[in-house]
């Protein structure tokens, strides 16, 4: 009997158990090569989602290998973490109406990667829709590296139980300790993508030249890119004028394997946050990498979504939107609003909350969320948000006193320990606080717990009013 995948929350580590009925591999099936991806978890224990063939085997293999590189990457290794992070989290696969998506998150929590295989990349039968983990062991990597275009390559995401029995492959069970910051980052990066806007686009030659120009050992400090002609001009200081800042440039070398297939490269950036999105188009597919502002700053610490979590949509609203989700490639806010009878804003807030629960992901190309129910137990998202948890405690302790609130903003005091009080203000420029955390980051890593507490208290006051 094959048991389901399970996640046990034991802060600060979640132990994820992958149970695959067979190892993923490239096999000869009736004289044809077939890429078989073993699945674990999701709607059923080992779902079967797709059977067909890849139309550009080498491109698909290079994309999947790159995704494996993302999962294996550790651009910043916290002390004494090496042995643990050698045990890697497997990528997540989602089968939707007209595309196959594969997602991975780096061990250092600073790179999120997604491969979207579009209808031009494959043909075949979608057997089921949903999200699952796929086995991505060393054997599969080796097999993918040997894929050639001259031979046809079938693709199966999951197998029927009877076929598994007939093949007699041995099952695999792996327990992987996932740090809670890893899962938190995987969730938060979806909201961060929603804040990114298009900054530049390069054609195929420009993309290749740019990716090739990244040194093998680039500067660890931030560099800035500004579109110039067919490529990018690189700066080692901030030239302003909307240049895109990237620290830990070595992370972009993850594109090395697929750069030669590039037809374009699109770059996305956010004004307030230093995160960037990089989307490489290849024939029939695209590869998205989202980089955190620094290699040592995983997405889990960014906290950009905390304002939304604190605002919270109503539980009923979130449940209603979740119930109305389909497997279309892009979730249409207007359609969901019509389907649930809720406002557009409510639906948007609910989607943001669902992103933080692992129910939806965000696609920069489509500028919208898509359904993808992570096969992890992310139901206790808030427990994964220590800042929000601390803010709620401040409110419960009645540590927040709102001094004034009007259309222009509000001013409040939040009591800290030792009789110290922090001044929190909001205005058209945003929030501010007199605590050291705010002093260090000035909001570029999301709000501090004092700001969140004031936000929560203000909502409570509104509700009471």
């Amino acid at each position: 009997m094959v048991a389901t995948a399970s996640t046990v929350l034991a802060a600060p580590v979640l132990e994820q158990t992958y149970r695959y009925p067979f190892p993923s591999a490239v096999l000869d099936v009736g004289g044809r090569r077939q890429l078989r991806l073993a699945t674990s978890g999701g709607p059923v224990a080992n779902p079967q989602f797709f059977r067909g063939r890849l139309l550009r085997p080498v491109v698909a293999a290079d994309l999947l290998l790159t995704l494996g590189d993302v999962a294996r990457s550790r651009f910043h290794v916290p002390a004494a973490m090496l042995i643990r992070i050698l045990q890697l989290a497997d990528p997540v696969a989602t089968c939707a109406d007209d595309r196959l998506r594969f997602e991975a998150f780096s061990a250092c929590c600073s790179v999120y990667g997604r491969v979207d295989l579009l209808p031009d990349a494959y043909e075949g039968e979608t057997i089921g829709r949903g999200t699952t983990n796929v086995d991505f062991g060393p054997g599969l990597r080796s097999a993918l590296a040997s894929v050639q275009d001259r031979s046809e390559l079938g693709l199966a995401v999951g197998m029927a139980a009877l076929e598994i029995q007939a093949d007699g492959g041995s099952a695999i069970e792996r327990r992987v300790p996932l740090p809670s910051r890893w899962l938190r980052g995987f969730l938060e990066v979806q909201s961060i993508q929603a804040e990114l806007t298009a900054a530049a686009e390069l054609d195929s030659a420009g993309a290749r030249a740019f990716l090739r120009s990244i040194p093998k050992t680039p500067s660890k400090r931030p560099v800035w890119f500004a579109p110039a002609g067919r490529g990018f001009r690189t700066f080692h200081h901030d030239p302003g004028q909307g240049a895109v800042a990237v620290a830990g440039l070595a992370r972009l070398r993850l594109f090395d394997r697929v750069a030669r297939h590039a037809t374009s490269l699109r770059v996305f950036a956010a004004a307030a946050d230093g995160s960037t999105g990089w989307q490489l188009e290849v024939p029939g597919a695209r590869l998205t990498l989202v980089l955190s502002p620094e290699v040592w700053r995983g997405f889990s610490g960014e906290g950009q979504a905390l304002h939304r979590l604190a605002d919270g949509g109503s539980t009923a609203g979130i449940a209603a939107v979740r119930g109305a989700l389909g497997w279309e490639p892009r979730l249409d806010v207007d359609a969901l609003a019509a389907r649930t009878g809720r406002s557009r804003d409510d639906v948007s807030a609910a989607l943001a909350a669902l992103a933080l629960s692992g129910i939806v992901g965000y696609d920069l190309a489509d500028r919208g969320f898509f359904r993808r129910e992570l096969p992890f137990d992310a139901s206790r998202t808030e427990r994964l948000q220590p800042r929000l948890r601390d803010a709620r405690r401040l409110v419960e302790r009645a540590a927040v006193r709102i001094e004034s609130a009007d259309a222009l903003g509000l001013a409040a005091w939040v009591a800290g320990v030792g009789g110290i009080e922090y001044r929190v203000r909001s205005s058209a420029d945003g929030w501010s606080c007199t605590c050291p955390w705010y002093g260090r980051h000035r909001g570029d890593r999301g709000p501090c717990k004092h700001v969140l507490a004031v936000q929560l208290a203000a909502i409570g006051t509104d509700d009471a009013g």
Binding site: Q87, S146, S219, T434, P436
Partner: protein
């Protein structure tokens, strides 16, 4: 005695042997009774801390022998002190308890100790063989102290599974097969080679496994051992031919040496007539497009042979060869063009399209030939002509040419003073955390001084958090307030004085370490702190009016009309910050300013005054009135104060020969620095320690940046110090991350670039540290555009750098290519600068110049220019030599002149 009593007695006696003997044969049920004692002993050990490290063995045996894994984990670092006989107390533990302990030993403890415990349990069948990489890595570390051959001889069962897993597990950090073999003399390699020599079947297996390991996509460093090992087996052509598919599949590897090895192997197979041309042509593309120049050229040779003899194969080979037009090397592109010419017959649509697709990637030097080829093949001739004419990498006006240099006092640079305590606190919380930016630091100092006497209701409530944070920072042992090294501590001390009235004393530092001009800034902060501690105010006239530390002269005069400077230091700070624009008007307005202060200000603004008795303001006035020039009047009235007092500092870079890998340079400064320099003479303080500038190794970057605002209008001394620091560490012998700060001011278009700055740029363009090199590249790009730098200026900087042996032509080529790609004008300027700097490089080995010559050739091809006259002589000398340098020199000399700089090539 009961087992419990025996165990307690053994624990009390710290008798490791007794503990082991007692636990060894007990069942899990019997052990349960001993748990309370084990917990008690463990708790006592935890209490003792590190002091108990030498007596841990009995406790460790008890913990591993009786407790659960979660309790063992509580031992922390102690859990890794594994006694030699630990395995004895584990053998009879229940599988439910033992398996997690084994996993823990492998995953969390690892190494030789874990191997020594775990391996017997597996060998004896007590625990199933773990399928985890940490088991293999533990075995590897088990051979750190015992040779692999001996381990294998003592435990031959390892050859069943464990030894082969070394070909499957990558490892990481220090713990990998590649690393182990590198530092241990290749012991596993010897074991496997011996095995291959003894047993042909095992030889076959090792040949296969080493190729399979290379297909696993390990990191370059860790993959290297497997390709070296594979080749060390010296495969025969027959053995290689049997593995042709494996070699072909390695052509997509990201690891350069793996690809090179595979290409070389395929070449041998092809020469033996055993390689399928179809299979080769299907797989070789990535090598041609992405491979290193040597490997890609070998790849082209393979393609050429695959395409020979059969027209259809030849056509396919030509199409495949077109991928090499996308290779970064112009040499590879040239070889590809030649090969396609040879293979292609008549016009061919598919081949023409393949060439067309890669034309945008083709280097300028090959573009004409590539376009001609495409045209001959029947491609889009118009597009080829356009592609051939378009300078490669041209910037389409992304950086519009600047028509005028901005002023330091432009409205866009104006700084808003902080006018309320709330706004002051808002900025101060951030400055307190970083000690910068200097603009905000000055705003905070200014506002604290102005608002120091204000104590509105709620003052303590609003500033309480700030006060506590300042105190916390000052309590940190590494903080050194008011020493001239630590801007963050200085601002913390000022804020503490403001919010609480508490005064912080100047903290002690080594007398031998001179803080340079940082002492002046700290002294300013300290006098402010003293003034406001009792609720007083300290209204400064030195607050910058514009970003970068500048003060609008008119504003300074207005301030002085209202009030005198807060102190001599305040006046000195204000004078040194005077912007050049508007001085004449300000001088007129300053007529009524009274006393020595008024006279010094007028003198600074260019007026004629009799030099007064207080040295500091007159020295500052002299330095800002005519930077870099002697002031005879001030020197006469205040003689012998040192360089950049009355007399301007004259600085010469002095280089020891031969130069060591670090250092070997100093600044010769005239007049000679003096020992006793007043803290109110910051320009003199900058040069007090010219041999080493020890302050640069002790100050934080925030202090560097603050120092950079002392005299924003004159950067020559600053640049000379930067040259010394970056130059002596040009090959990154020491991780001096802060040195790049010396380049930062030159990004600002209002900062002039004088002779020392040009040398700094020339040196930094060759720095190994990518950040320093990149910033220098930025400066050159911007300064060429805004007119602060010309091609001869750049050549001068490169030439002086070469004279001091700071030339690094390979890094210069990378940096200057980054400049050149910004516009055709930049490209032309860089080409001219290279030509002009070549005479200074005349003595260098020709091979060292190849990267620079390659860039030079491409730039001339792209701009259509001939080499500047200054470079002809060295080029003609090089042209007579062989090798790449000779070929490139001949190519360069053959370029142009095709006219003047093209229209699009203006800056």
């Amino acid at each position: 005695m009961t087992p419990a009593e025996s165990l307690r007695a053994a624990a009390d006696a710290e008798d490791e042997g007794a503990v082991r003997a007692l636990l060894a044969d007990l069942s899990e049920a019997d052990r349960a009774e001993l748990i309370p004692i084990a917990r008690e002993v463990m708790a006592a050990q935890l209490k003792k801390g590190i002091g108990a490290a030498g007596h841990l063995a009995p406790t460790i045996l008890m913990a591993y022998g009786t407790l659960t894994l979660s309790e063992i984990r509580r031992l922390g670092w102690r859990a890794s002190h594994l006694p030699r006989d630990l395995v004895d107390v584990l053998r009879h533990r229940s599988p439910e308890r033992l398996v997690p302990i084994v996993d823990f030993l492998l995953d969390d403890i690892g190494g030789h100790g874990a191997w020594r415990v775990v391996r017997p349990l597996i060998r004896d069948g007590i625990v199933a063989r773990p399928d985890r990489p940490s088991y293999t890595l533990a075995m590897l570390m088990g051979t750190n102290y015992t040779s692999a051959a001996q381990v294998m001889a003592e435990d031959p069962g390892l050859l069943e599974v464990e030894a082969w897993r070394l070909f499957e597990v990558e490892g990481g950090g220090d713990n990998s097969l590649a690393n182990h073999e590198k530092f241990s003399g290749d012991p596993w390699g010897k074991v496997f080679r011996d095995l291959a020599a003894r047993d042909p079947i095992q030889r076959e297996r090792l040949l296969d496994l080493s190729l399979a390991a290379l297909a696993r996509d390990f990191a370059t460093y860790r993959a290297g051992w497997f390709s070296r090992f594979h080749e060390s087996l010296v495969p025969t052509d027959e053995e290689r031919a049997m593995r042709a598919d494996a070699y072909l599949s390695l052509l997509r590897s990201r690891v350069g040496p793996t690809v090179s090895m595979a290409v070389a192997a395929l070449a041998r197979i092809q020469r033996a007539g055993r390689l399928s041309s179809t299979a080769l042509l299907d797989a070789i593309g990535p090598v041609l497009a992405e491979g290193s120049a040597g490997t890609a050229k070998t790849g082209l040779d393979l393609v050429a042979r695959a395409g020979a003899g059969d027209p259809e194969n030849g056509r396919t080979a030509a199409i495949v060869a077109a991928q090499a037009l996308g290779n970064a090397s112009a040499d590879v592109q040239r070889a590809a063009i030649g090969l396609i010419e040879r293979l292609a017959g008549e016009p061919d649509e598919a081949l023409a399209r393949a060439v067309d697709d890669r034309l945008p990637d083709v280097a300028a030097s090959q573009r004409t030939a590539a376009a001609a080829l495409a045209t001959r093949l029947g491609g889009d001739a118009a597009a080829h002509v356009a592609a051939a004419a378009a300078p490669k990498g041209a910037v389409d006006g992304a950086v519009p040419p600047s028509t005028r240099r901005p002023s330091a006092t432009e409205p866009a640079r104006a700084m808003e003073p902080l006018t309320s305590i709330e706004s002051l606190v808002d900025v101060a919380v951030s400055v307190l955390e970083a000690g910068e930016p200097a603009d905000d630091l000055e705003r905070v100092l200014d506002a604290v001084g102005r608002l120091g006497a204000d104590r509105p209701a709620g003052f303590q409530r609003l500033t309480g958090a700030l006060a506590r944070r300042a105190r916390t920072i000052l309590d940190q042992p590494e903080r050194r307030a008011f020493t001239g090294f630590d801007a963050r501590a200085d601002i913390a001390a000022v804020l503490l004085a403001w919010t609480t009235g508490e005064l912080v004393e100047r903290q002690a530092t080594l007398r031998a370490i001179d803080p340079g001009a940082g002492a002046f800034l700290s002294a300013r902060a300290r006098e402010l702190s003293n003034a406001i501690a009792n609720g007083g105010s300290f209204v400064s006239v030195a607050a910058p009016t514009h970003s970068g530390g500048w003060i609008d002269p008119a504003v300074l005069v207005r301030r002085l009309r209202v009030r005198p400077p807060a102190s001599t230091l305040d006046l000195v700070a204000a004078l040194l910050r005077l912007a050049p624009a508007g001085r004449a008007e300000a001088l007129g307005a300053a007529t009524g300013l009274a006393g020595e202060t008024g006279a010094a200000v007028r003198y600074a603004l260019g007026g004629d005054e009799r030099i007064g008795p207080t040295a500091a303001p007159w020295v500052a006035a002299a330095r800002v009135r005519a930077p870099g020039d002697d002031d005879a009047s001030v020197e006469k009235r205040h003689p012998g104060l040192g360089p950049d007092a009355g007399l301007a500092a004259r600085i010469r870079l002095s280089v020891s020969r031969p130069r060591p890998s670090f250092g070997g340079i100093r600044l010769d400064v005239q007049p000679q620095p003096v020992d006793d320099v007043g803290v109110d003479l910051p320009t003199v303080l900058m040069l007090r320690d010219p041999s080493s500038f020890a302050w640069t190794g002790h100050s934080e970057p925030s202090m560097f940046r603050w120092i950079a605002t002392i005299q924003p209008g004159y950067r020559e001394v600053w640049a000379a110090i930067g040259t010394l620091l970056i130059g002596r560490n040009i090959d990154w012998w020491s991780a001096e991350w802060a040195n790049r700060v010396f380049l930062e001011p030159f990004i600002d278009p209002v900062t002039p670039i004088g002779p020392h700055a040009r040398v700094l740029i020339g040196v930094a363009l060759g720095a190994r540290e990518a950040g320093e090199r990149g910033l220098a590249t930025d400066v050159v790009g911007l300064a060429l555009l805004d007119g602060r730098l010309t091609a001869p200026d750049l050549a001068e900087g490169l030439g002086v750098a070469a004279a001091g042996e700071f030339d690094r032509p390979n890094r210069w080529a990378v940096s200057l290519a980054g400049v050149a790609m910004q516009s055709d004008g930049h490209a032309a300027a860089v080409a001219e600068a290279i030509a002009r700097s070549l005479p200074a490089l005349g003595e260098r080995p020709a091979a060292k110049l190849v990267p620079l010559l390659r860039l030079f050739d491409e730039l001339l091809a792209g701009t259509g220019n001939a080499p500047a006259e200054d470079g002809r002589q060295p080029l003609e000398r090089l042209a007579g030599s062989g090798g790449q340098a000779g070929r490139l020199a001949r190519s360069i000399l053959s370029r142009g002149p095709v006219g003047t700089v093209p229209d699009g090539a203006r800056l």
